[in-house]
């Protein structure tokens, strides 16, 4: 397929449709409006459901209902809206339902602003909603990756019966880059897909079917039973941690004097700085977690080469992923952090200056 110049918000929507998503429930919010608008235009053309919900809370609960029926379903929002969805996300995780949630992050806290930020890292990777649960969290750094993650997210959601969040930001949502889409699933393939969930999902009792009674539920009133349920969830999460680590190594070598760790939009800017430093003969490598949960702790530890004097974390927040990097580095070398907040995005020149000071 030829490349198309597209905004991230639209590319992820198109990719979701191609991946068999025929149900989308959401509420408008900047800077993800192009996503909901794209779905409004395109869903009717594929006989899919587009529904603009009365609230973020309702949208995520519609997702809960549709996911309970074993169908591929998605919602999207931006930071303040994702906060509102957290109740439903906890229920979806508790009831072990497959669903995809896109967060096009903006500046916070509160209403914040509408510019790109990465302030929802804790919320996405450490909980956000109540109770013991985990989301699989994927963090794209380009429009192409944003689109590719849609189909991966649905596959992972189905595989683990777990909600998956794509944690993008206003820059990735608003930016246009060339994107190449995978072949769309056929109607027959999409029809077949929910059958993998026949053993638990809400569905009619077909003729000849043994009568079933499936419950979509996160309530276990007996503490002993709930304990077992949560322990089972954590067995599943351990499996995910084993299988789904994903990261990019950029210019990582034994020559590195500094190792950077950055994710999403921030990593793009760090890359530019690394390229500039390379011209000056200064060797800097970077680990970019592609999935931010599960987290590539070992990859970071292994990337600390013999000449690395410092691990430098750059984020568009006050140092949220920093905690995970410190766990990974485990005191081997000093870990430094620099970030910008409030929707202010650092420039390659600023990062270069910070890194130069390490030499």
């Amino acid at each position: 397929m030829a490349k198309i110049l597209m905004k991230g918000n639209e590319a992820v929507a198109e990719a979701a449709i191609r991946s068999g998503c025929r149900l989308y429930f959401a509420y408008p919010i900047t800077p993800q409006s192009e996503l909901i608008e794209y779905m409004a235009r395109m869903m009717p053309k594929v006989n899919g459901t587009f529904l603009q919900a009365e609230s973020e809370v309702s949208a995520i609960n519609m997702v809960y209902g549709a996911a309970g029926c074993g169908k591929r379903v998605m919602t999207s929002s931006s930071s303040p809206g994702i906060s509102l969805k957290m109740e439903g996300i906890s229920y979806i995780a508790g009831a072990q339902l497959p669903a995809v949630i896109v967060n096009v992050q903006r500046g916070g806290p509160g209403l914040g602003d509408i510019q790109p930020a990465q302030g929802d890292y804790y919320q996405a990777t450490k909980g956000g909603g109540h109770g013991d649960y985990r989301l699989i969290v994927m963090a794209p750094a380009s429009v192409q990756e944003f689109a590719d993650m849609a189909s991966d997210a649905f596959d992972l959601a189905d595989k683990y019966r777990n909600p998956v969040m794509i944690l993008a930001d206003g820059m990735l949502g608003q930016m246009m880059e060339p994107v190449e889409f995978k072949e769309a699933l056929t109607d027959a393939e999409i029809e077949e897909m929910p059958k993998q969930h026949d053993s638990w999902c809400i569905r009619p009792n077909e003729d000849g079917d043994k009568k079933h009674h499936h419950e979509i539920n996160s309530l276990e009133i007996d503490p002993v039973v709930l304990e077992q349920h949560v322990n089972n969830l954590y067995k599943k999460y351990a499996e995910i941690e084993k299988n789904e680590i994903s990261y990019e190594s950029y210019d990582v070598s034994d020559d590195n004097e500094v190792l950077c760790v950055a994710w999403g939009t921030a990593s793009r800017i760090v890359k530019s700085a690394i390229n500039e430093l390379k011209k000056d003969g200064k060797s800097v490598g970077m680990i970019r977690p592609i999935n931010v949960w599960p987290y590539p702790y070992e990859a970071i530890a292994e990337a600390i080469g013999p000449n690395v004097k410092k691990v430098y974390v750059f984020e568009l927040n006050t140092g949220q992923m920093l905690d995970d990097v410190k766990i990974a580095v485990a005191g081997k070398v000093p870990v430094e952090f620099w970030g910008k907040v409030g929707g202010v995005v650092f420039t390659p020149a600023e990062i270069k200056e910070k890194l130069e000071a390490c030499f």
Binding site: K3, L5, T30, P31, I114, Q115, G170, M171, Q174, M175, M176, E177, P178, R268, I269, K271, S272, I274, N275, V345, T347, P348, A349
Partner: protein, 179 residues
């Protein structure tokens, strides 16, 4: 080879479109491109700008801090972005809307009454095509043929008159760009 471009002006002047056409043409010519707009509540009449990068290499940061080319359709855009143009870079600006111009002498300045020329061609809407023409005339960022092909493919059936005006504006821009 990487070229970083900022287009800036009032919302509604079509600055975002300039960047979009450049990015699309660059993509058609097999280059890596990115297009990153400013966004916000100023849908009309506020200031708008877009960073466009066209490169032979994969694009790291889509954020342009030091543009090789700045297209400024109004004075606030010059005031804001011209100081960061790379030395030897290009400033294309609209003298109708930029009464104070730019005082830098280490850059190439292409000043023309773009609003007047657009009106003369027949429609103020072609102002952005004029800018694209100037870019084509002055740099080898993209080719005229790519633009013609792209515009023709989506405008010929819908609005052939406007297509003609657009192509005319690009050609006129090329002349200005070549000086």
């Amino acid at each position: 080879m990487t070229t970083e471009l900022i287009c800036a002006g009032f919302g509604g002047q079509g600055v975002l479109t300039i960047g979009k056409f450049i990015a699309k043409a660059g993509m058609s010519e097999g280059k890596n491109v990115s297009w990153l707009p400013s966004y916000g509540p100023e849908m009309r009449g506020g200031t708008a700008n877009v960073s466009t990068v066209v490169s032979e290499e994969p694009i790291a940061s889509p954020i342009v801090s030091f543009p090789d080319v700045l297209v400024a359709l109004n004075q606030p855009s010059i005031d804001k972005f011209a100081p960061s143009i790379r030395p030897g870079g290009i400033l294309i600006y609209n003298t109708n809307m930029c009464p104070h111009g730019c005082k830098r002498d280490d850059i190439i300045k292409i000043a023309s009454p773009m609003s007047d020329i657009a009106l003369e061609i027949g429609n103020t809407m072609v102002l952005n095509m004029l800018a694209i023409g100037i870019i084509i005339g002055k740099t080898d960022l993209i080719r005229y043929e790519t633009m013609e092909e792209d515009l023709t493919s989506f405008m010929k059936a819908k609005n052939p008159e406007l297509l003609e005006l657009n192509l005319k504006a690009i050609k006129r821009g090329i002349e200005i760009g070549k000086g």
